[in-house]
């Protein structure tokens, strides 16, 4: 039964991911009101990758991929529900609404299939945790001032 839910979810994800990304690209192009707002995906400086695709970020944040190519466990850092950038991140990067995410994590939690990413309250805290946690990945709205993190992806929210 759990397997069944998982399959259904994955199918759905595959169906939605491509149009969502196209829409995201169109949205960024036609909505200049959000220009200037960036979404920056950062990682601990020792992470083996220098850049990352949105698909891989989606897999990481849905805990479908739990280790880096060098085998190091991935520690995704999330913002609490209600944060604007979190909504924008999931919208733009994963194409999922907060309701979808809640349902997804409720199922995963109930069945014990996966643990939701650790949630913190602010960008700063994200940056601090990414800096201090090996294998950590997070997303922030502003590029961090220190060079202790590695920027893997930069997306323009406008």
């Amino acid at each position: 039964m759990k397997l069944h839910h998982q399959h259904v979810h994955r199918a759905r994800l595959a169906l939605f991911s491509l149009p969502t990304l196209l829409a995201l690209l169109c949205f960024t192009a036609v909505q200049p009101a959000l220009a200037g707002n960036e979404l920056i995906v950062i990682a601990h400086k020792d992470v083996a990758l220098n850049k990352i695709s949105p698909e891989r970020i989606t897999q990481i944040y849905l805990r479908q991929q739990q280790s880096w190519p060098d085998g190091q466990p991935i520690q995704p850092i999330d913002l609490r529900e209600g944060s604007g950038i979190r909504r924008a991140f999931y919208d733009q990067i994963t194409g999922r609404s907060p309701g979808q995410l809640r349902a997804f994590w409720a199922r995963q939690s109930f069945t014990g299939m996966g643990l939701p990413p650790r949630q913190v309250d602010s960008d700063e805290e994200v940056t601090r945790l990414v800096q201090s946690t090996p294998g950590a990945i997070g997303y922030v709205s502003r590029r961090p001032s220190g060079a202790a993190v590695k920027v893997l992806l930069t997306a323009n929210l406008d």
């Binding site: 409720a106 199922r107 014990g112």
Partner: protein
């Protein structure tokens, strides 16, 4: 034709072919090995048959043991599960991790990393699952150090519990709980359904407690899991329930199920009014306890059932083993018994046969079994009885035959003894006859030989057997000549003796006719050839010697030539013509030869019995030996010379059996001085005294034949008157009263001889004394008549009798002398210088 072989014939043939290898094997094994072979095959078969049973029981027992270990592990895991699900429901504030719970989990993780399962356990993924549990547990532990929300903790707990549940299921599989033939559903309930129910019941409450809409819906949906578990729980419980259900498992399950129903009602109530969540919490807690208790009780029940199964399996193992051992022992016992019994029977048969063969024919074999050997023993006993009976019959027949034989032998022995006695008597008779014949043969040969002033003569004949074929003779001829001969009849024995007697008579008669030696032999040959049915022949050498001049005329008929030894010691073979032996064929003529004996010469006539006398080494005496002896011997007298010759031959022959008659005649002409001396000793003698007939008798020098053990019977002297003879006759009758027949013959002969002496010898002189002496030995009667008349030999000078003429016409004396010769066995007359000596010998044998 061959297709018509009946099936009854083919079937045994087929069977014998099928059984041929076994028969072959059986034929090469002793009884003990046969039994050993069959017994071994049976025992091996039994072992092979029971081996799978034992193996199956062993495997089952092993599996049950494994399953029990699985239940032990399950109990441990259930305890950890209970801890984990209870921890998940605890609020952050009341979180309390007891060290005991942690230790339990650590122990579980250590066990899962290396489960230490027996080789019979199926391959498993327990280490991997242990690692997963370890990771989940570690993740949960990591959360504890972080400030985190309830959902993450719930998710981490649930992940850990999921890992534990997976581990529990794998543990069940690794301990073969899922494939147990009778408790698979029960173990499905214990390893999967009940833990899942426990987890679901708490998770339902825990999810609702997090007040999340999304989770709430899942908590409701979890009812599906619970309701789906119900049939499996029932099925599992069915396998665990015993008829009495002492543990009350069914009641516990029913209670649990009804409690689950009540929890669902409470869940529904929480959905409507979230504040009633507080009511759900104790229900869920109690239900968890109930489920846990059911799990523990069910596990114990399952373990008890496994224990019982194990006991049964071990018991069945023991039973199979005992059965196997019992069967083996029974088979071995049976075989040993059969073997011993058969062997005992066979031994009795063997012993009985041996005893029978050893001669104990009353042997009988008794076998007290019911098998075929009894038939063999019976047959043996029948044969033994039959043989015994036959032997009795044979023995009886033998005894009867033996008795008959003994009777016959006794009879024949008696007959033989009788015949033997007869034979013995006959042999004795023959012996007597032969001895008599020998005496007769010896008696007809002259025993006294002339020994005059001029010459001496001596002869002897020693037969090889009782009767000889040789003979000699010597007799006076007219004009003072002497004829003498030596002859040898071919062959020996009675026939030769008869032929000898005939030959001698013929030769003597012819010689008396004053014929020349060649004529005597020629006529004798004609006479003998004409009456010779046995085709015998005789060699002879006849000589006429004239003492007046020493001349010798002789003829030989196939006889060895005479040997002449001169006074000088020279020995000559006298010349002889090669004339044939007498009796071979008539009409033969013989040659006369002449020789001369000088004074001192010796003439030897002999038969081949001398030259062919053999010693023990088969060497012949031979002519050479004879000549040598003749040369050496210088004895002047013929008698002594002959004794020497006989001794020489006897010495040569030694103890060897004589092969032929031994006959020799010696004539020794005395040396001139001897003759003169002798002439001087007889001054009365005139010149013609050299002629024996002129002298009236030859001068006799040697004594007559001596009788052994002589007894004097009569010594009678009478005057030379005829009337005196009657007195003598009376004396003779008295002396021979036991043998009147002999007395008669003696008186007859004495009367004739005394009359002859008185009338012719004394010419009627009346007062001359005549001495008569009668002596006897065992066999012979000797009569000696001595007178003092001039030399007179009545046996020579008496005229030949004329039997054809009448008694009155015959010349006086001739017939009487003939009668005397006939009636007496031996008659001889001698002149001893003082008178004539007449010696008569008469055998006393009847």
């Amino acid at each position: 034709m061959s297709a018509a072989v009946p099936a009854t014939v083919r079937a045994p043939y087929r069977w014998s072919r099928v059984l041929a290898p076994a028969s072959w094997l059986s034929g090469r094994l002793s009884f003990s090995r046969k039994f050993l072979l069959v017994g071994s095959v049976m025992l091996v078969t039994l072992a092979l048959l029971s081996w799978p049973l034992l193996r199956k029981a062993g495997q089952d027992a092993q599996n049950a043991e494994l399953e029990r270990r699985g239940l032990t592990a399950l109990a441990q895991q259930a305890a950890v599960l209970d801890t984990l699900v209870r921890q998940r429901g605890e609020l952050n504030g009341e979180r309390s991790e007891t060290p005991a719970a942690k230790a339990k989990l650590q122990a579980l993780l250590a066990w899962a990393t290396s489960p230490q399962l027996p080789p019979s356990a199926p391959p498993n993924t327990l280490p991997a699952l242990g690692q997963r549990l370890q990771q989940q547990w570690q993740q949960l532990q990591d959360l504890g150090t972080q400030e985190d929300d309830a959902q993450r903790r719930f998710a981490a707990h649930t992940g850990t519990i999921n890992a534990l549940l997976a581990l529990m299921r794998e543990s069940g599989r690794a301990h073969r709980l899922n494939v147990d033939p009778r408790l698979d559903a029960a173990f499905e309930m214990l390893t999967h359904r009940l833990p899942l129910v426990m987890e679901t019941l708490t998770k339902q409450q825990d999810a609702l407690a997090m007040s999340s809409d999304s989770l709430t819906s899942y908590a409701v949906a979890a009812q599906v899991v619970l309701s789906e578990a119900t049939p499996a729980l029932h099925a599992g419980m069915q396998q665990l329930l015993t008829p009495d259900d002492r543990a009350g498992l069914q009641a516990q399950l029913d209670e649990l199920l009804s409690r689950i129903e009540r929890q669902q009602d409470a869940v529904d109530k929480v959905l409507e009014s979230p504040q009633t969540l507080a009511e759900l919490r104790p229900i869920a807690g109690a239900n968890l306890t109930q489920a846990q208790a059911l799990l523990v009780a069910s596990t114990a029940q399952a373990d008890a059932m496994l224990q019982e199964r194990l006991t049964q399996l071990r018991r069945s193992q023991w039973q199979v083993g005992a059965l196997l051992v019992g069967a083996m022992a029974a088979i071995a016992y049976l075989f040993a018994g059969i073997y011993v019994s058969t062997l005992r029977s066979l031994r009795r048969l063997s012993q009985g046969t041996q005893d029978f063969c050893a001669g104990r024919l009353d042997t009988r074999i008794h076998i007290d079994t019911q098998d075929e050997l009894v038939l063999v023993a019976g047959n043996f006993n029948t044969v033994a009885s039959e043989v015994g009976r036959l032997l009795d019959v044979i023995r009886e027949q033998n005894e009867s035959r033996q008795r008959e034989l003994e009777r016959l032998v006794q009879l024949r022995t008696l007959e033989l003894a009788d015949k033997n006695d007869q034979l013995h008597l006959a042999a004795l008779r023959v012996q007597e006859e032969l001895a008599s014949a020998r005496d007769m043969q010896q008696a007809i040969l002259p025993q006294h030989f002339p020994d005059t002033t001029d010459f001496s003569m001596q002869a002897c004949m020693h037969p090889a057997r009782e009767l000889g074929g040789d003979f000699y003779d010597c007799f006076a001829l007219s004009e003072g000549r002497w004829g003498f001969l030596v002859a040898d009849v071919a062959g020996k024995g009675v026939g030769a003796a008869f032929f000898m007697a005939v030959s001698r008579t013929v030769l003597q008669d012819l010689a008396q006719d004053e014929l020349g030696p060649e004529e005597v032999l020629g006529r004798a040959n004609d006479l003998l050839s004409g009456r010779n049915p046995m085709e015998l022949f005789v060699t002879a050498c006849y000589c006429i010697y004239d003492p007046r001049d020493g001349s010798l005329a002789y003829a030989s008929a196939g006889h060895p030539p005479p040997l002449l030894r001169t006074a000088q010691g020279e020995v000559l073979n006298l010349d002889c013509a090669n004339d044939i032996a007498l009796g071979v064929m008539p009409g033969m003529s013989y040659s006369r030869r002449h020789a001369h004996l000088a004074y001192g010469d010796t003439l030897l006539l002999y038969t081949d019995g001398i030259t062919e006398a053999f010693d023990a080494a088969e060497n012949a005496y031979g002519e050479k030996h004879l000549i040598s002896w003749l040369q050496r011997n210088q004895e002047p007298q013929a008698a002594a010379k002959l004794v020497s010759l006989v001794r020489d031959v006897a010495d040569f022959v030694g103890g060897a059996e004589p092969s032929d008659d031994l006959t020799a005649l010696l004539l020794c002409r005395k040396a001139r001085e001897d003759c003169v001396a002798l002439s001087d000793a007889h001054p009365d003698s005139t010149a013609p005294s050299a002629y024996p007939l002129d002298l009236g008798a030859m001068t006799v020098s040697h004594a007559p034949q001596e009788l052994n053990n002589k007894t004097l019977l009569l010594e009678h002297t009478l005057l030379s008157r005829v009337e005196e003879i009657a007195h003598l006759a009376e004396a003779v009758d008295q002396a021979l009263t036991e043998r009147p027949d002999v007395a008669f013959a003696v008186n007859l002969c004495l009367e004739e001889l005394l009359t002859n002496t008185i009338q012719h010898g004394l010419h009627g002189a009346p007062n001359r004394l005549i001495n008569v002496r009668l002596s006897r030995s065992d066999e012979w009667l000797e009569i000696i008549v001595k007178d003092d008349a001039p030399p007179f030999d009545p046996f020579v000078e008496a005229p030949a009798p004329s039997l054809e003429a009448g008694v009155e016409e015959r010349a006086v004396g001739g017939l009487g002398v003939h009668m005397v010769k006939t009636m007496m066995d031996e008659v001889r007359a001698f002149y001893d210088g003082s008178g004539n000596l007449i010696v008569l010998l008469k055998t006393l044998k009847r």
